[in-house]
Point group: D2
Chain length 349, copies 4
């Protein structure tokens, strides 16, 4: 098979428009050859446990899966019973971007809360976390937050710890959708465990794909009481890779050294570079703090439309004209500068 | 990341113990670099359509997914309604090896039929295909067969055509679990479409992983009336890859040229070589025709136990002592000869 | 068995605290004796079709079920596919009071909309009805409204017709949760079909239990294209009564003559009588128009607490102190007057 | 509403073709009038607990539901997790007669076993109860048996106790589908607890409808560890009656005194009377022991067809010509004698 696409093209549509980081691709090749036990009975999945424990502590266990929806639904299924519900932000990926998978695969009711910035607080959780013991109300048994959020914002360790205490006091577990957890660590400049294990989080969806992997995430179980069911849930949710060594090898490539952090720091820096370049342009407003690899901006629709003819990015909110510009591990300074110049040219006329 | 395993070790446990065929790995690398539309909006997924149509005809459409369970459940969900059931062999992978995914993800009732050799016939289908119009009986709306079967047997095109006519006359669709469809084509020495499209099959789960891919299969829709729902079902079944280009590139690498067939022919030949070498050994019986890349044999348990200390393979049926020996694309003649010699040494004492 | 309770006690907690209207109980007795075909093959279920057609037109078909949750979930399951979502008010019974049954039984995603008064409008529907063709978004395929709403408000026929046009133009069906549909007809002083069949509604959950039946509702299908699946969905949703004649007989007793309307008119009148008696009392505010058999009022918590020691009713909103007082078919003027006097005594204290 | 049917007609189609026993109808009337707490907060549901405990012991708890499918699915859902399977006879009602409800409502995989007489044994259970720890196999977590079975056979207390020990030793729970449990007690001439509580059963679906109730069954939990989830599962499975007093009153009417046993003894006696009258007729074979209220016989198809023009009954197995004749609480000796005479006339020509 020959290359069909133009590998020099990059845009700002999403971090999953990018490809595979060369070190990850090398890791896949390193894991190749010979026979290894299928379905996780391989040396790479075993090694991944060590890698994950260095980040999340000695009790952590990692269950590789194919994608983020799979990680979230398997994790939330382990955190809930058939009669449960999960409290999450209205903007949560599990609510708006997974085609109803939580409801359809596991019958999970989502109790959603509007938030100003994609972040839950104990008070916001309480808008839906009530009614335990009343069988008419799907029982809130877990809280799910995204770190970083879908709006590019980032929880502090203290904010997550407060949510964990709040959830646990009410008999709920705390799940973190960490599709972009590396970006959070880079923004906070803190180890992963500071805002997960140490903050009382029970389950993490550990991202890989959006940070340089080809495909691969993991459910990381921090609360050992939840470990038992995961393997069965992963299988019946169709997230069990037969040649798992190649998923695990990717996650090792990212998390064994500092590739996960290098990639995230770079992507975050590119987003900040873009924000700094466009902030203050006439007619453009950056709406949200840039605490991740995304810039959310409002600008005139006509400018957006003309820019979209040359650069790939999405309108986030059709009503307000808000757009989202995402940087990736492979976004270059030149990419940013060229794009910022184009935006400036549009807006300065 | 460095290599953790011994790439010179191969066994006979399963074709998914093997790794990635070098041409497939190359294809992944070729597809890398730059940005491409996520979720299938890439040049490789587009090209895959052409490749699939060369095999299955102009109306075929391919929907890449992560694994075989995903392909089967998405296909069967498209073939059924909420009140439906699927008729399949008792030994079908969807019944015995998917952790209850069809039931749990899509509420599909499986009406199972015991078979002598893993193959359904119209008469066997009729043991469960009845009761339409009676709401007490989950309605049989599809028949699912495996080609080749889990017992290593292979349908002729005529047998499949007969099943398709039988199913369609009764308002049922016909699905083929083609995790090892390449092995069937190699055994039959016929093009894929001869026993799918041309035989009246509605949906195929097109295998990749067991035939040299890293991971990747596709739902191939042959009956265009079923195309509409697939993308939604794939997403809500958590089988939608964001960086789909790398799944599609693998399938292109296999199916664009003849790699799919070379790999399958080789694996089949290795299984036959093994069968020929062990057939007639004292105390050993080959139970089933070798029409795929597996040899099923009964031999004394003590011999099995000693062999399993040196070679990896599974006991298929604990009660009878039947074992399964599988060859893969990377099994060598030397592998077979060494193993056959060991079996012979055990049995000849 | 002897009577265990005090049949002279009545309260204001809910219309389902009441018992069976004597004419409905008589109907059960009339349908007794001898053998009749089970699962709907009886003379009463046949007769019910005629009764329902007199109300809803010649194409209507009724499928008796056990309860309102069952009626709603069966109806919405018929209106949707496995990848669908339903748009409804945040306050809808299907969202807040069914223990997650739509999600858990049929995997239905609910896209909820906050409303001022429990009523959807086309503009409110549009807050969630978008994204068709995008597989990441559970596809909005139906709108569900309650008539009367859970907040005691009532749609006009024109409002429903406008919603139906709006839904249909966007490929969505319109379902009416009619647990209290009789109260709406009484308030509007219009026939049932004026705001269902004639307004373009596709499916109605026809209430019985809250209006004098012992237990029994029906899915009434107005759009004949949806009839086919209902019997299978009813069965697999565990809503198929074997001795259906006794469910159908209750619905006949209500809807054959004018008992449904007499009961609803009476309950509505009792609610209005209560509202008139308490409106203007110091410290009491009636928050919502009384267009059904419920009065929603805010009064001091201490008054509520003292009243609840003598009269049974629920606090509707713990935060605001809003209470709900419901009248039933068997509420008497004396009941209302005594309760209103007690409220007045509390507030005038 | 007036009587629409001929109350003097009775047949042999099913015990659910019969109506309401007069004492049960009286109980419904006794429970009527005034207001009672909805959803089980009534005096009858409280009293039912005492009644059930007299039969099943001090730890039993009863959860009234609408129908047998509901009782079975709620019970099996409580006995299983999302990744579980249930072992049952191929002929079990949950497998063949519930429209796929266990799979569709709760995602329960049924591992079915062919049986000679509808009864499981430890050895038969073991044909499917294996593979714990292997995530590819839906995990067997419960065994479900029917007492009496769908084939009219009856377990002894010893047989059930043996199954309970066998199941518990393997980490499985034991559920009894007791739609006709009264018929078993009558056949065995033993108290209900002798073959349930005392035999180690965990959950019973306690029948009412087929033994003289209008509609109503109960999940009776004998293993207190399973009590917690039931109310939530009942609600989300849409089996929670708002006016529950009328379901509970029916069960009290049956089980408080000996009506349950009188009705079952009578129905059983009528079946035996029929069997005795037809046994030995030329061309007729009674296939199964009559241990319940059903007679299964094979006779010439032409005779069956002519008889079905005058008497209502079902062909049980189209292939063999086996028919099922069921007696009910209201079957009279004259009914039996007339029917037996007609059968004799047909066969003796």
């Amino acid at each position: 098979m020959s290359t069909l696409h133009d590998p020099s093209t990059r845009g700002f549509a999403s971090d999953n428009y990018s490809g595979i980081h060369p070190e990850v691709l090398d890791a896949i090749a390193e894991a190749n050859g010979g026979h290894q036990g299928a379905y996780g009975g391989d040396d790479y999945t075993a090694r991944l446990q060590d890698v994950v424990r260095e980040h999340f502590g000695a009790r952590a266990e990692a269950f590789p899966v194919f994608n983020g929806t799979g990680a979230n639904v398997v994790a939330l299924s382990a955190a809930t019973s058939r009669w449960s519900a999960v409290v999450c932000a209205e903007t949560a990926h599990v609510n708006v971007d997974e085609g109803g998978a939580p409801e359809k695969v596991s019958g999970i009711k989502l109790w959603t809360v509007p938030t100003p910035d994609g972040k839950l607080t104990p008070a916001l959780v309480d808008r839906q976390a009530w009614g335990w013991g009343d069988e008419h109300r799907a029982q809130p048994h877990a809280v799910s937050i995204s770190q970083t959020t879908e709006l590019g914002t980032c929880y502090t360790p203290e904010e997550i710890a407060e949510l964990a205490v709040h959830a646990h006091e009410r008999g709920m577990l705390l799940h973190v959708d960490g599709a972009r957890i590396a970006n959070a660590a880079a923004t906070l400049d803190l180890p992963l465990r500071s805002f997960t294990t140490d903050a009382g989080v029970d389950l993490v969806s550990l991202g890989g794909t959006k940070n340089g992997a080809m495909l691969g995430e993991a459910v990381v179980v921090l609360n050992p009481e939840l470990t038992g069911p995961i393997k069965y849930l992963r299988k019946s949710a169709m997230q069990l890779a037969s040649k798992m060594r190649f998923v695990s090898a990717q996650l090792i490539a990212l998390y064994e050294g500092d590739l996960w952090l290098r990639n995230a720091r770079h992507a975050n820096a590119m987003a900040r570079r873009l924000e700094e370049a466009v902030r203050g342009l006439p007619g453009l407003t950056v709406l949200r703090p840039v605490q991740s690899n995304a810039v959310f901006a409002v600008l005139p629709r006509e400018a957006t439309e003309r820019l979209q003819k040359r650069f790939r990015f999405y309108t986030w909110d059709e009503r307000t004209g808000e757009v989202r510009w995402m940087a990736s591990f492979d976004t270059t300074e030149a990419d940013i500068d060229a794009f910022a110049a184009a935006v400036a040219a549009e807006l300065r006329g």
